[in-house]
Every structure is written in C-alpha cells, then in structure tokens.
Symmetry: C2
Subunit: 211 residues, 2 copies
C-alpha cells in the first residue's frame, strides 16, 4: 500500500513525515497542495483534516493527521523494518517520547516565530516584530543550552541511538541553519553542532530536501 | 515500586499524570514542590528536570518528564493493568496519538492563556490583556466546533473507548468550566458537554481533585 501524503514538501510538518517514511522504507506518494490558493481550507481537504493544516496521510481507508502522531504510527506499525526509531525497551521509548514532546513544546515554537518574522513576512512585505524575534531567540538559546548539556552525555537526544526524537528536529533546524542566518545558534554549541552534522547528513534527510 | 511524582497537585500537567497513574492502579507518592519559593528552579530539581517545570517522575532510578510522555510510558508499560488507554490496535493508538497532539498543540494553549490572564494575573494584581483573552477564546471556539463534530460521531475522541486522548483534556477543561466562568464554551455544544460530563465523572478524576 502506497501512503498518500497530502501537503507541500517545503513545510516542516510534511518534511518530518517524509523523513520518517524514508527511514522506514515505506512507499509514499506526495499529493501536492496549493497553500497559496488556500487548498488546505477547501471543504474536500477539511474532510480529511478539519483543522485545515498540513499534512494528512491516507493509507488505504485509514487517515491520520498531526505529524508527530504520524511518526509514532509508522515507527510502531513497521517496528522491525528500516531504522528502529522508538528504542528497544519501554524505558527507551519513554525517553524518546520525552524529547519528542520537548521538540513540539519548547524547540519548534520559537523557531517557528523566527521563520515567520524573518522569512515569511519579508516575502509578503510585512514588517517583522523585532522585539518578538529577540524574545524568541532568547528562549531558543536557553533551550539549546539544555540540549548542549544533554548531548555532551549521549550521542542522540534519547540515548546512544537515532530516534524519532532526533528526526523530529530536522525540519526546523534546517530552516534555522540555512534559511534565516541563525546557524551560529547551532555552531556556537559544540555538541549540538556535532549532533546536527550527524542527523542532517542522513540519506533520508538529504532525500527529503531534494523533493 | 512507588512512583514519586514531583509537583504541586494543582497544576494541569501534574494532574494529568496523576489521573493516568490512578487509572492504571499504580502506587504513587506526591513530592510537593513550593513553586512560590521557586523550588522548581533549585539546582537539585533542575538535575531531574532541566527546563525547571513540573512534573517529573522518579521510578526507581528511571526519571522522566513532560506529562504527555509520562502518560504514554505508563499506559504502555502497564498495558494490561487497569484501564486500557492506548487502544487495542496500532491504528487505534495512531488516532489516540493524533488527539493527544491536538490537545497539546491546539486545545491546551488557548486555555492556558485564558487561565493566566483571568485567574493568575488578577491574583497578582497584574491587569489582563483583554485583546489576547478575546483572541484565545475565538481560537478555542473554533477548536471546540471541530470537537463537537467529532464527538457527534464517536463517544470519545479516539473512538468508542476512553483513552489518553480524553484523559489529557481533563485538567485544562476543569479550569475552563469551574475556575474562569467559561463553562458556556462546553455547555453550548451538546456532544462536547456530554463528553465532559462523562470523562469528568470518572473516579480517577474525582480523586485527583481531592488531592
């Protein structure tokens, strides 16, 4: 069964899902969605994803949205195929879940604000709120200091194995490093920098960036 | 092994964890934390929870934070004990995960803003930002309209079974209904209202409120 992924390949949430499908060796088909023409607010799309955001997957007659829920679903469904992404024990999975939550609650939001104000708004001719930009960078710096400490003790976030916790950080960090000139936030932290080099050089991520 | 739960019993995240432990019949011990005296920023506490928020659990020498990660850990570790909270199939769990993410990303944040501005700030003598209150209520109303549609088709969020997805909504909804006078947001929606009556009358939740 080929998994249909509805969503444009440049959004963080869609890229997160694609990276997971590639790591697991699952066949997928991208169903492009024209966000500029508000295709994500179309009644047909809202039947699949009532909140009107991307992505949503269709796998036969099973549909699922929320990118991090989709990651967990495929990592569990195909546990023994491709890269093991949830750890080997229930405790390892617990720690994977902890860092997945940290990514969703603490890491992604300030980067999202930076992207909106430093990349999206300029394209639309809307002035950035530089006070908010500064506050978001301060928040993110504190989070990254905790990551630096963590990654000085284990190679990956959840332990000495690559997992969904790391994978989920790929899209936002890619924007931070390569799109809005904030690469110093990663590069100024030795262990975070080495971790980023490691996870961003995975073939799955390189493939996502080519899509 | 008795699970130590560090955190005051009035916070949403701690209550979420306690409700889960009670549903699973797991013995716990609450380690109170004096937030007013900034015990959550104490170096000893930061060793357990580097972000300085509550709760964190200690289970023997295993520690874990992020309330929704703790829910998943115990629901999986004790899958066959107490209430089944993750569904029976990998698809059911996928849908549980979807609604857990919706709760964390779409439902909790606007309620959190309402609580801060309508309950916490008044106690501190800080004026509420009424424009932000209004925006948060609008956001939440849209989310609740989607819940109303969903709950017209299934008894609980993830299907016809109570799960972590429902449980995770208990703390914020309790505040909304009983602490800041916004009960009409639940009561004006027939299926959301019936769902709230159902889940909030569970013995586990009544016990949490007595702690």
């Amino acid at each position: 069964m080929v998994v249909k992924v509805h969503g444009p390949t440049f959004t963080a949430a869609t890229r997160r899902v694609l990276a997971c499908l590639i790591e697991k060796g699952i066949d997928y088909e991208i169903v492009p969605l024209d966000l500029l023409n508000r295709a994500h607010k179309d009644p047909e799309y809202l039947k699949l994803q009532p909140f009107g955001v991307v992505p949503v997957i269709e796998d036969g007659d099973f549909t699922l949205y929320e990118s991090r829920a989709i990651l967990r679903y495929y990592a569990e469904k195909y546990k023994s195929e491709g890269t093991e992404l949830l750890g080997k024990t229930v405790e390892e999975r617990g720690v994977v879940e902890q860092w997945l939550e940290v990514e969703g609650q603490n890491y992604h939001p300030p980067i999202d604000t930076l992207i909106v104000h430093l990349k999206v708004f300029p394209k639309m001719g809307v002035p950035a709120d530089m006070k908010l930009v500064e506050e978001s960078e301060e928040k993110l710096a504190k989070v990254l200091d905790i990551y630096e400490e963590r990654l000085s003790k284990s190679k990956y976030l959840a332990g000495d194995f690559f997992s969904l916790a790391d994978l989920s950080h790929l899209p936002a960090t890619e924007y931070l490093v390569n799109d809005i000139g904030k690469d110093y936030m990663i590069r100024d932290r030795k262990h975070v920098s080495a971790w980023w080099d490691d996870i961003s050089s995975r073939p799955s991520w390189k493939k996502v960036l080519q899509l």
